[in-house]
């Protein structure tokens, strides 16, 4: 049931293709239809977005599960309410990269990563998690180098100062074309159905503004469905895809000419979960890993982090 | 010449005197002054001389209430005339002018706080500037003035509050000797036209015999009174190089020479 019109909400987003579900919902009026008056708030990084939700500057946002998000959940400030980006067999997912130097030294597959340096933005970031899981599966010992941002990581990888990294395909592929970096595997092989990003909100919204939250998730899901159909499953034909790229380009790579941006947008299209379903197993795995690494308090339970009452739990 | 608009205490009508009763003072463990008894009679200039560091400045601060004596007290006898805005007024060695205020501003500073403004203030300022021959320098900043002029401004400022007693701490020793000579003449002139009461601290025996009605000689630290020399020759008759004054000066110097030498040779604690 549509709510009374014009409930004002703020949605946090990064200018990434993976945030397209919200952009589509905005552009195609799905939020309006649910009676939501949405303002976007753009961020440079995911971490401040989590804090912004805790400080109630932002109502809803999408980000990777990070130590920061879990800590904020533990302090009763944030709650995961749904899933967004997910690794899926058959869809081009995140890639494992190595530097040219490491590649030439024989690191041609993830099995040979032992003793190498794995780049991360921060301890407790998704990069850290991926590297750690891959290392465990391959019985390799990795050292993790925090470089704060994607920019410095790319610089360090190109100059061979770090050996390996994992990243979304639309960044990985152009990098590998330069010849200074090589793709040696897929993250999905190590983390099948990895729940990369989740939808979250403040604990207060989750508990007390259920109608608004549900309305948001419905609109978000509609956007996700459109996006998947147009660019991931490509069931709507070229014209629809073209139209979708144009829509997304209003938000992503705005300062690049359309032709260049379009390629990156298409490359970066990964599936956004239908109906914002959440892969509980993956989230649990991630939570356990954070606890094991002592990055978060061991007292945190799954229910502290996730409000399971909103979406389907897989 | 017109009668001055404002004037010092008219010593015939009012007589405010100061009496120092057994003053002693310590800074921490150091005894600076010991058993000082002294009368400062109205209308007279009392000079205080003594070797460096014997407590002359301290004594003057005690007299004016800028410091509390460790023992003894300074007694004010008789009422200050009602016209006196600030009965005990200092003239400092280093002038103590506010560098950001003009000559005029430096004088108005001490009037503003006592509720004198507008035409009244204007009258007072014009009068004191005229008396100190500063009328042309009214708008000048201190940095534009020579040392002698700065001290004249400080004197004008002191006159503006119609003091009952002037407390002068080596008012001329920051000046070169020629300027000092000129200012000494001006001070004698001011006193002759209208006698005022003053305590005048100095190192300079020549100055003391030129300007003092009595000269108090202090010993080395802790300062005690060694001798009080009275000079009876009227101020206006005293001149540079008068034989009798030279005699007095020599006498004082003989009294003080050894103490001055000892004070000079003293090592300050590191």
């Amino acid at each position: 049931p549509a709510q009374a019109a014009d409930t004002k909400i703020t949605v946090g987003a990064l200018r990434f293709t993976s945030h397209s579900a919200s952009f589509v919902a905005m552009e195609r009026g799905y939020f309006k239809q649910e009676g939501l008056d949405v303002t976007f708030k753009f961020f440079q990084a995911a971490q401040p977005m989590a804090v912004a939700v805790a400080s109630k500057d932002v109502d809803y946002a999408v980000t990777a599960i990070s130590g920061g998000l879990i800590s904020l959940a533990e302090k009763g400030a944030a709650k995961v309410i749904g899933g967004a980006l997910q690794e899926e067999a058959g869809i081009d997912g995140q890639k494992i990269l190595v530097s040219d130097a490491a590649f030439k030294a024989g690191v041609t597959s993830p099995a040979k990563l032992n003793g190498k340096i794995w780049a991360v933005t921060q301890a407790g970031s998704s990069f850290h998690y991926m590297g750690s899981v891959i290392a465990a599966k391959e019985n390799a010992k990795l050292s993790f180098k925090p470089l704060q941002k994607v920019g410095p990581i790319i610089g360090a990888l190109k100059t061979g100062q770090v050996d390996a990294w994992s990243i979304v395909p639309h960044i990985a592929k152009p990098l590998s074309k330069s010849g200074k970096v090589h793709i040696i595997g897929n993250v999905a092989d190590y983390l099948p159905n990895y729940q990369v990003t989740v939808v979250f909100t403040s604990a207060d919204n989750a508990a007390n503004k259920r109608d608004t939250t549900k309305a948001f998730l419905r609109a978000f899901s509609k956007g996700a469905a459109d996006f998947n159909a147009a660019l991931v499953d490509k069931t709507k034909g070229d014209a629809a895809a073209e139209e979708m790229v144009k829509l997304v380009h209003k938000y992503v790579y705005v300062d690049r000419p359309y032709e260049k941006a379009a390629r990156s947008i298409r490359n970066g299209a990964m599936r956004i979960s239908e109906n914002a379903a959440l892969n509980t197993a993956s989230v649990k795995n991630q939570l356990d890993w954070f606890k094991k690494e002592k990055l978060v308090k061991s007292s945190i339970t799954f229910d502290t982090l996730v409000d399971g009452s909103y979406v389907e739990q897989k | 010449m017109d009668p001055p608009l404002i004037s010092f205490t008219n010593i015939c009508d009012f007589a405010m005197e100061l009496r120092l009763e057994n003053i002693g003072h310590y800074y921490g463990d150091m005894e600076v002054l010991q058993g000082i008894d002294l009368d400062i009679p109205a209308g007279k200039i009392v000079c205080v001389v003594g070797p460096s560091g014997c407590g002359k400045s301290t004594l003057l601060r005690l007299v004016g209430g800028l410091e509390k004596p460790t023992s003894g007290r300074v007694v004010q006898m008789g009422q200050a005339p009602s016209a006196s805005i600030n009965p005990l007024t200092y003239v400092f060695q280093d002038f103590a002018l506010l560098p950001w205020r003009t000559v005029e501003g430096n004088i108005s500073l001490v009037l503003e706080d006592h509720g004198i403004k507008g035409a009244d203030m204007e009258a007072v300022i014009s009068d004191v500037l005229a008396r100190t021959k500063l009328s042309d320098f009214r708008k000048a900043l201190p940095k534009q003035l020579s040392g002698g002029m700065k001290q004249r401004v400080a004197i004008a400022r002191a006159l503006a509050v119609k003091p009952a007693v002037m407390l002068m701490d080596e008012p001329l020793s920051a000046l070169d000797s020629q300027t000092r000579e000129l200012l000494m003449d001006d001070l004698v002139d001011l006193w002759t036209r209208e006698p005022f009461t003053a305590v005048y601290v100095t190192h300079n025996l020549g100055e003391a015999v030129r300007i003092g009605h009595s000269i108090v000689v202090l010993s080395r630290r802790p300062g005690r009174i060694c001798e009080v020399v009275e000079i009876n020759k009227p101020l206006e008759q005293r001149q540079l190089g008068d034989a009798d004054l030279e005699q007095q000066q020599k006498h004082l110097w003989n009294l003080m020479r050894d103490e001055a030498k000892a004070a000079d040779m003293e090592l300050m604690d590191a």
């Binding site: 401040p48 912004a52 941002k149 920019g151 | 506010l98 940095k143």
Partner: protein
């Protein structure tokens, strides 16, 4: 009086003074900048300096012109300037106020100096997450960060300036029975002005430095945000455009304070 032998032996007394008074000529500064920039231009053109190490100055200029023409320059500059202005004014006013309190009252001195000393070496970026919680992600937290950064150096400068006010001037005020309030407003404050102004020079430079940190917090537009974005894309041309703007801003602010000093402190020797 002289014997004739030495009469022949005449020499002009030799000059042995001078020096130790280096002069700064403005044009030399310009020449140095031009030489430096031409050197880099040449280096990048000949390939001696790779494009990874430094951008080509002419490209930086072109990027700047483009930024200007697109109108984005103002879109970035205006929010930054308003953040700087609000933050620095809040921080500096609070700093001057607290500094004067410390300079005047024993209790304030005893209690606040240790706190200021403890706060001084705290890097402001470390506190970013807290600032978001305390002040939100909008302008308030940016103001707060810049204000916080300018606060401590201003306090230190201000109480130093009050301490340095000539004590004989204060004794003079007391000797003329001025009220406490008059002494503070007419003697202590004007006397502390030179020290406070020269402290503000440093504080405002710090404010500019903190702009980047402040705009790490969810700023879409702003010179700091522009620099951060350029940095994360490793776009050296844009990075240098941003850095140059900050540098010019800093030199400009310092020049403005210099002018104010010249006007306000004409009375200094």
């Amino acid at each position: 009086m002289l014997d004739s032998a030495s009469k022949d032996d005449q020499r002009t007394v030799e000059f042995r003074g001078g020096g130790f008074a280096p002069q700064s000529k403005r044009w030399v500064g310009f020449v140095v900048f031009i030489v430096l920039i031409s050197g880099i231009e040449l280096g990048t053109r000949t390939g001696f300096i790779t494009s990874l190490m430094l951008p080509r100055p002419s490209d930086v200029l072109a990027t700047f012109v483009e930024l200007w023409k697109s109108g984005l320059l103002w879109k970035h500059l205006i929010p930054s300037l308003s953040r700087l202005a609000v933050g620095a004014v809040i921080g500096a006013s609070a700093g001057i106020g607290v500094g004067i309190l410390i300079g005047l009252f024993s209790l304030a001195r005893a209690s606040l100096i240790p706190i200021v000393a403890a706060i001084f070496p705290i890097p402001k970026i470390a506190l970013l997450p807290l600032f978001v919680i305390w002040f939100g992600i909008d302008e308030a937290s940016k103001y707060a960060l810049i204000a916080f950064g300018t606060f401590t150096p201003t306090v230190v400068a201000a109480y130093g300036a009050v301490d340095n006010v000539d004590r004989t001037l204060i004794r003079m005020g007391q000797s003329f029975s001025l009220s406490w309030f008059s002494i503070v407003t007419k003697i202590v404050l004007p006397g502390a002005m030179p020290g406070i102004l020269s402290g503000l020079r440093v504080s405002f430079a710090i404010a500019i430095i903190l702009l980047v940190a402040a705009e790490m917090l969810g700023a879409e537009y702003g010179i700091g945000a522009y620099i951060l974005e350029a940095g994360s894309l490793y776009d050296l041309e844009r990075l240098f455009v941003g850095v140059t703007i900050l540098s010019i801003l800093g030199v400009g602010v310092s020049a403005v304070i210099g002018l104010i000093e010249n006007r306000l402190l004409k009375w200094r020797i």
